[in-house]
């Protein structure tokens, strides 16, 4: 099956007016025309097949949003090409728009002053959604995401979590083939994050909607996206399944144990002690299959255990280890591109 999204050697650079500091500098900026080129996306290529769920991951400023904007046709690549559903997105923006759904975590597409349901209704008429399709979709989505209690409320009165759920629903009302999400869980609390993630997974698995989401939260990827694309400083670092990245990097989780008083040495067969401050001990766990439950059951006899936590490596840590391990990087670029 041909890929649904193709990016080949895509680059995007922005020209920024060079500014000079201070009052004299401000005057100077008025009369000079100096620019600095900022590279936001640098020679990135990938292909995404129909029905995939792909996480586009990177730290802030890595060029994630820029890529999404190019794929949705809001931005024109400086060089290279993008192709979505067989079309060049910016050249056929309107036709493209009818078949994709887009959610920006930091930008609302709802009509601020209208009741939520009126925003949906307006969306129906702009996208010319058949009435029965619209009714079915709205009923189904608002049930799963529990929009019922605030459908009649003006959007400006909604909480961020409610609003994001509504944004996702609106982006799906016209049955798009691809759903793009730019930081859909940013700023949400745990409950709202979980609701959005579960919904996106369902939309991908059950409706077959191709999902591409940018995030800097690894949890988003783990729960929604089998495939991961990592970018940093405008360049592609990794493309493949998350498990491959983990094992390639030997990524470690950090286990923190806090005791009421210093218990003396505590040995765990699968964990390496990295710091011991008596009552507070840090371990690193390399094995993938060790769960928090396993740790807990090993420690069940220790009545003085006050608290424990098992932390996933953050995206920043992962990227740091990509840079640190030259060997791992070699293995990664050998990873076969998927979805072809």
């Amino acid at each position: 099956m041909p890929p649904i999204i193709e990016a080949s050697a895509v680059s995007k650079s922005f020209r920024q007016h060079k500014r000079f500091p201070g009052v004299l500098g401000a005057l100077k900026s008025l009369f000079t025309q100096q620019f600095t080129e900022v590279m936001a996306v640098d020679g990135i290529s990938f292909e995404i097949g129909r029905g995939e769920a792909v996480g586009y991951l990177g730290p802030n400023g890595a060029g994630k949003s820029t890529m999404i904007k190019m794929l949705t046709g809001i931005l024109l690549p400086t060089s290279g090409s993008v192709c979505v559903l067989g079309r060049i997105p910016h050249a056929e923006r309107s036709r493209n728009a009818r078949q994709i759904g887009v959610v920006f975590g930091q930008r609302s597409q709802l009509w601020w002053d209208l009741p939520l349901v009126d925003s949906f209704e307006l969306h129906r008429r702009i996208y010319k959604i058949p009435a029965d399709r619209y009714r079915d979709n709205l009923a189904r989505f608002s049930e799963v995401l529990a929009l019922g209690p605030f459908l009649e409320r003006p959007v400006r009165q909604l909480s961020l979590g409610q609003r994001m759920r509504a944004e996702v629903v609106m982006a799906l009302l016209h049955d798009p083939q691809i759903l793009f999400l730019d930081e859909p869980t940013i700023g949400l609390d745990v409950v709202a994050k979980d609701a959005v993630r579960r919904f996106l997974r369902e939309v991908n698995r059950e409706r077959g909607v191709t999902v591409i989401l940018t995030t800097h939260d690894l949890q988003d990827i783990e729960q929604i996206c089998p495939r991961l694309i990592v970018v940093n400083e405008a360049k592609l670092l990794f493309d493949g399944p998350l498990s491959l990245l983990r094992s390639a990097l030997g990524s470690k989780r950090r286990l923190k144990l806090e005791f009421a008083a210093d218990p003396g040495p505590v040995e765990l067969p699968y964990a390496k002690l990295v710091s011991d401050a008596g009552a507070l001990k840090h371990y690193l766990i390399e094995r993938e299959d060790v769960s928090l439950v396993a740790v807990l059951s090993d420690l069940r006899d220790r009545a003085d255990l006050k608290d424990l936590s098992l932390e996933e490596p953050s995206i920043e840590e992962l990227i740091r280890s990509v840079y640190a391990g030259g060997d791992a990087q070699g293995r990664m670029s050998a990873a076969p591109p998927r979805g072809v």
Binding site: F14, V102, F104, W111
Partner: protein
Amino acid sequence: MYGAVAQSAFQTQLAYRSQLWAHIFGQFIQVFFKIAIWQSVFGSLAQVDGVSLPQMITYAVLAGTVLSAWEWARLIQGIDVAISTGDIAVFLLKPLHYPLYLLASECGNLCFRVVAIVVPIVLTVALSYGLLPPASLLHGAAFLVFWALSFLIQFLLSLLFGLLAFWLMTAFSLEWLLQGLLALLSGSFVPLWFFPDSVTALVRHLPFAWIGFYPVAVYLGKLTPPQVFAYLALGVVWAAILGSGVLVLWRRATLRITVQGG
């Protein structure tokens, strides 16, 4: 589809009820203020430059309230906000033409303001001071057409100024510039009859004149039927020129968004 946009703009206005009351109140004061000025200007004179006081009161209500019902400044401010926050990109994501979307939405706003502000004021003034009827059935019908044209030209001018904010980065000064031009050149306050002849020759042919002056001149029967059609045609030509200006500017603006990211 654009009908839905107009309808929701109308509904959005309803969301701000307290603002509406303040607006109605302000508009009432303005109208009575203008009438008071014209009354003192005319004093005991029956006519000034061939215009009578009742005509002038009708002029003040038509040009000052009916034809100025639409809030052009809000359009410019809205575009400015959309540009500075980058929300304008969202409109590129929808299967919509942004200028047409704005036109539809402003039609909704105009309808709302006609119902909420124009109708009460016209009725009040008609009952208290008396308003002249249109000079003839033809002039009355022509006025409605000129009214629509007046709105279209105001909309296109404001959109043109609003889109300039893409390059000048400040809509505020543009708004002031347009406000000055409109106040002076549209005849919405002082009719062009009272301008010196040398100035009128120019001002009569600028698009601003179709916003306030010509529609009321038509209503009061100051133009003969052939003149009505001639000026209607000229106004349509102006609207077409402004419309193509908007399209060109919008094309360049989209290019700017897509190339430079806003």
